[in-house]
Amino acid sequence: MTSLSFNLIKNKNKIFGFSTFLILLSLIGIIYSTFNTSYKKPINLGMDFIGGNELRIDRICKEECEIISPDLVIEQLRTFSNNKNVLNNIKLQIQNNNSLISIRTPYLTIEESNDLISNVDKILGPLNYESKNSRIIGPKLGKKLLKNCATSLLVSLFAISLYISIRFDKKYALFALLALFHDLVIVFGIFSWLGVLLSIEVNSLFAVSLLTIAGYSVNDTVVIFDRIRENLKQNSDNYNKTIQISVNESFRRTFFTSITTLMPLLTLIIFGSYSLFWFSVSLSLGILIGSYSSILLAPSFLIKD
């Protein structure tokens, strides 16, 4: 572990190349998602932001639940209901060995949602109402949430930037922020691609994860920059070399911290509730990318040719 060392000076261009590649890939995802998808947004917004109705409920089966195709269920729903708003935009999945039904529809009133459940009960029942999870979000609230999330992101990015620029001199602050935006753009881009390829949606917790990643990534960069400043004070002769030594000195710390933060997140991904799954995934990705950018990318900005 102690013998691990990076040659930053030599690999500077490779690091820049790699980061540019990731950023471009993310931007392509964001642009593709904005223009070439049904939802025409930089990222696939979930029901938190556009409103809708989500229902998850378990079936009660004696032994194993029999296989039934979602299309057939929707077909049968038509005989019970003529609510076109529901039937034309319904997304129905049956997961977990055919035992878990999850349904997404556009916004419904509570009455309509209850009707839908009782109709599903007639087709797939009996259902275990004790395990029900139903969420109805009105379109108005969705817009408000989106605005709120965007504001909190901007405000806290501004606050963090302010803190960094007071704490460091201009050059360091600029590079720390560059590394931060690099991380956020890439995580955002990954989720744009996930939306395009796997129809994964982002909800308000995604915005929370971006904010947490921001705090985390800046923290990592600050630790390394601190070390660089400290070492440069003692030894200012060989500038590039001192930076490289500082990075290698902080490497263990950043690496260990990432691992100790990733471990609980991985247990959340594996054991945690489904509503925290994508949240934990985006946090984990953010921490991986954040560690990379603070160990390799941010110090590379400082290296002189």
Partner: protein
Amino acid sequence: MKRRQGWLFFIIFLLTFSIYLLINFPLQLGLDLKGGSQLTLQLVKEDGKVTKEELEAVNAVLDKRVNNLGVAESNLQTLGRNQLILELPGEQNPLSASRILGKTALLEFRTQKESTSSQLKNLQLQRLKINDLVELFKISDKRSEETSLLLIDNLTEIENDLNYSSNIEQLFERLVETKKYINNEIANLFNKTDLSGKDLINAGRRQEQTNNNWEVSLSFSNDGGEKFAEITKSIAGTNKLLSIVLDGESISEASVGSQFINTGITGGAATISGNFSAENARELEVQLKGGSLPLPIEIVETNTIGPLLGSKNIVKSLYAAICGLIFVGIFMIFNYRILGFVSVISLIFYGFFNLALYSLIPVTLTLPGIAGLILSIGMAVDANVLIFERIREELINGNTLIRSIDSGFQRANSSIIDGHITTFVSCFVLFLLGTNFVKGFAATLGIGVVISLFTSLNCSKTILRFLTTYQSLRQKNLYLSRSTTL
């Protein structure tokens, strides 16, 4: 050394106090952990600018209604400038709550305008017809084409008679809308009086003796009783009717007999019999008891979680938290040996202090809250890693153990504080701007960050100092992992 001993006692005291708190004031679990319904209500105002007073007034009315709902431990609080959050633990079907809360429930008493009898009779007839259609709709659970067509034909006929058309596709919604239109029209045939729901002191409900319908009884205040007598006196013995109007819809029209021509109906009580079902009567009773809403509200979010799912969520989160702690503990002990052991102990303290603060403040624990707690474990360990790395470097550089420990803590200080401040800034913003869901995460992560400053800078140091008072624990190799060569 003396000073550190003081800290040791202080930490032990804090730990005992935390355990005492946790035993006596158990943690409050959010609905996603214990099951129930949560409704988000938004005040509707055209210019969108809801004043604080208006929000308070709506809160007060809803609070009364909620109390009359009879759901144990229900909780209503304001959120932001124009929203309220209602939590109904254990409630699995928020339909009736939503109906009771969503209505403005503005009750008015109106007297009939001159020469409107024939218009009124026609409208009342149409209302009877539409009520029959609604009944038919409800009875025919699985509707055939035939019944649907029959319903649509009859409804269209009524609409044509009324010169009214709605562009609603859903049959039931259309029925409801047309009925509402009729009731509106009826209410328009009446003049407003100065008697309203404000003059009520109580409301009740009872079953009518003759049939299965329910009626709602009203008790007026002294002032209201006088107004009621005055109004009934003015129309007694005439062919004018008295209409009871709720939110602009006439729900009942009644004549006042000629025996009241001299005094009006006195006694300060009245009943509304408008074909109420038991449930409808209860809803109206609760609404009238609470008074009318100063501003209309809209239900913008409904979240229902079954109790089984809630307990599953607890188990899953516990698994995740404990496994996370164990993995981190093993990793730390493997890499830092005694130091790692110290960090594990201070992490356990950290956990207790966090939970104790949740019960002290109190913080309601939700799923995102648990995520915040689990993530904050990572951040707390981060501080330890920073310190231990410094100690390790000092040791490798040949410093004595005690000296290395001291300067390790000292030199890691600024980085730790920086990191905690940036995270805290994010949490603060999230807490101010976030939704209820997000607030839970921000609260636990934010509290975690503050406590972690104390445990990592102070607890770890105190425990370490305590351990190093034992000669046998002062060997340097107990502080470095095997791979490190001195």
